[in-house]
Symmetry: C2
Subunit: 248 residues, 2 copies
């Protein structure tokens, strides 16, 4: 099963389909519209509709008017003839490294699949442009997917894979990393609408000092693919004992 | 700073405001509409507007037409005269325990605040009804907040606090827990619209077998408040070394 958050017509999705097309039976269900920044939201306020497309001959491609999480759930429940061996999401146009995973529809789809016990991998390129060049990423994506299909991923683990855009165009290799700490600052810009009322538009800049070797930030800054194994367990285990003394 | 995802007029929000009103200066900014299930999404497609309300005399209460995450960011950036000592979210009408944290706007607000380096706590009651009785939760909430203000929370840690609704109405105490593993199954129901087209409506049932002592599920099933310390680091640390052999 393949999905994304940039929408069913995004170049990144089509690139991902092409790179795995000969590896097995493929079902694609992706949002009809761009759903970047939708995070793990789902559609509760209205019914979801699914439209079968036929632009890629021989492939089952569906456009869903819900979120990436909706796509994974509806596709798994109603459009997969059997349980998928692997769920892929992307290739995202833009970074989902570091804390960007929190906002990401691409990675929400991955985490949702993982919660259903499915193996899942998200791919993102550090280039937002609609016409981004995914060519240098494709051999790495192929290698990661073949390896996941052959060897499997550990239970309840999914992968957040990000690709750099090095100045010289050469990706040096792959690094398994932890997620860097970071933050978005000055996230909204105050403007005034035509009636003179204040309003707030998304803006902001990404600040990350946590770029030691071993982090995804380090890998990407140094020309490597970053692979972060991810979990949906939000527990901060290291402080459970400490705060037991406070609250119990 | 206080926010929620059920909307600025929710009973749970007003209950939370009441319980901390005498503890310091309070700014409330919450979604104008119910934003349950919005998870960590933010508003990128249009400007956000904020309306000052004056229903609670003497308090600064604002309705924001964005998501809970938008509320935290805009409020911190433009509506707080100084850096908040504490960000509170809730009291949510319904559970955010176990994996429900992933979908939760209430907890997204908490995690967003935490990413900005703010201390943050989310409160949820296992009762969805708009007129839920929050009375039994209030002494516990007061105790948790006073403790957090006096002793502080560890850096980058926030709390996911859930309250049971015991049959006998008696909450036994508080337990610091880890997040239970669980899943939602049969999440969407296939229906047919007036034109005979298939559509999919949110449904599903929550399945959780991971209710050993030490989990939030155990605490809530046994009449205790569950307190899960939470982090926005999604890294599955325990398998980094294992998959290095595969991918590097």
């Amino acid at each position: 099963m393949i999905t994304n958050d940039d929408g069913v017509n995004a170049k990144g999705l089509r690139s991902l389909v092409d790179v795995v097309r000969d590896l097995g039976d493929i079902v694609v269900m992706a949002p009809a519209q761009n759903s970047s920044g939708k995070a793990h939201s789902f559609t509760a306020s209205r019914p979801i509709h699914v439209e079968a497309l036929s632009k890629y001959e021989g492939l089952d491609i569906y456009a869903c008017d819900g979120t990436p999480v909706d796509c994974v759930k509806v596709c798994e429940q109603y459009y997969c003839p059997r349980r998928p061996s692997l769920v892929l999401s992307g290739i995202n146009h833009g970074s989902n490294s570091s804390i960007n995973i929190v906002y990401s529809g691409t990675m929400a789809a991955v985490l949702e699949a993982s919660m259903s016990g499915l193996q899942a991998i998200g791919f993102s390129l550090l280039d937002h442009s609609p016409n981004a060049d995914f060519t240098p990423t494709l051999p790495f994506i192929r290698k990661i997917i073949v390896s996941a299909l052959e060897k499997g991923l550990p239970q309840s683990t999914s992968l957040n894979v990000n690709f750099p855009v090095p100045d010289d165009g050469v990706i040096k290799g792959m690094r398994v990393c932890r997620q860097s700490e970071a933050r978005w600052v000055d996230s909204y810009e105050r403007q005034f609408d035509s009636k003179g009322n204040a309003c707030y538009c998304i803006a902001g800049r990404f600040e990350c000092d946590d770029n030691k070797e071993g982090t995804d930030q380090w890998a990407l800054e140094n020309g490597y693919v970053s692979i972060v194994p991810t979990t949906i367990d939000f527990t901060a285990y290291n402080i459970i004992e400490e705060i037991k003394n406070v609250f119990e």
